[in-house]
Amino acid sequence: MYTEKVMEHFTSPRNVGEIADADGMGEVGNMKCGDIMRIYIKVNEQDVIDDIKFRTFGCGAAIATSSVVTEMVKGKTLDEALAVTNKQVAAELGGLPENKMHCSNLAADALHKAIADYRNKRAVEKTDLKETAQ
């Protein structure tokens, strides 16, 4: 039922783990439906994703989509990463079974949340800096 590429990412997932001093973290899913994805990003001064890691509790599709999204956006700018959709993630894997498209295909959402988290933090830091300067 899964494509070869899904199984390949399931058996050899890329970028598993956490980033201790991550610039942003995004989590999606809930335990009721049985999928939780967490994505950590490290961003450089050029707004490029230098490092990205994930941890996922979930089915084969949940693990494979998390893995492939990290591969798709590593080295990309935040704007490029924000343009990646769940649909594109599924397509990158050669497709997912229909019943997995909604419940387990949330990796791009987790990534977008991580980026939003990073931007929020930076906005707060800038405000703090301004306040300190004043």
């Binding site: 335990m31 439906c33 939780i36 941890r55 089915c59 419940c103």
Partner: protein
Amino acid sequence: MDKIYLDHGATTPLRPEVLEAMKPYLTDFFGNPSSLHAFGREVRKGLEEAREKVAAAIGAEEREIVFTSGGTEADNLAIRGVARAASARGNHIITSAVEHHAVLDTCLALREEGFDVTVLPVDGYGMVSLKDVEAAVTDKTILISIMLANNEVGTIQPVAEIGKIARSRGVVFHTDAVQAIGNLPVNVNDLHCDLLAVSAHKHYGPKGVGALYVRKGTRLKVFNFGGSQERKMRPGTENVPGIIGMGRAIELAVHELDEKAARIKTLRDKLIAGILAVGDVRLNGHPTERLPGNVNVSVGYVEGESLILSLDLKGIAASSGSACTSGSLDPSHVLLAMGLDHQTAHGSLRLTLGAGNTEEEIDYVLSVMPEIVSRLRSMSPVYAGQRRD
């Protein structure tokens, strides 16, 4: 190592002896058993011999056996048949929260039609309480339907006792015995049941055939119309090769029950002990009142489908009650009814042993399990969270 099949709760392989018994009825003996001529008569003879075998296996009389297309149809015929026949007397039906969907969904469909359906809760082992059964019966109760043994967690219900309660209150009692045949002694008189559903492919027979035991005097109002086959309770030309196969399969299953059940139980207990030793694993279902071949565990911090995929890559066939494998967004209704939280239910793994399994296979499963679990845990955010605590 060859592929290892540990999903006998889903289906079992056809026994060679069963295939041999069926072959003539797929080739030479093609007549319609309802035909009067020689072609029909020889097939009728085989069909009635199969009926005798099924009846003998469960302590029934031949005329009390109705062949169906399987367990699901037998459950539907029993429940809807009684509901319609007895609706003038009452409209209350009692069942349990851990029934197979063939029973539960049939009862819930009757609720939509206006029947009053009590779904009894179960304890942490998946067991129905006799007190609850007793208390639920009213003068409007027309049917109690409680399974003999649970397909997911293997828990064996106190069906004989429930049967006694039903009889003393004048209520028809149906039990789904699909998982029990070949695993437990099944006798309709010891169980005090009026209706009992069986399915051939769960005991090394062919798929697409089952039977409903209907105790003499039990009234069913049928909902399929056509010919007079199966005393009009199940009209339509019989699945003759399937029925012949079922007869042979159930005969063998009952004959070999004691030896097989004891051997499988030993392997089951070894498998349970070995998986629990992985750590953060809980056994689902009753420790002793359980089917001899059933192992159901929840592996903490990992999800069931990813466990099954990982085992499949090692050549091991298993199943799970996680949402991904239940075909809905919710995990198994059985595990939730037993009080498991969602995470624990999503992490369930069912391994069901059968006649062909060996100790070497169990050793192999136990040798790959720790590595599979630790790999999935290393990816799991809930496990990482747990370790920090």
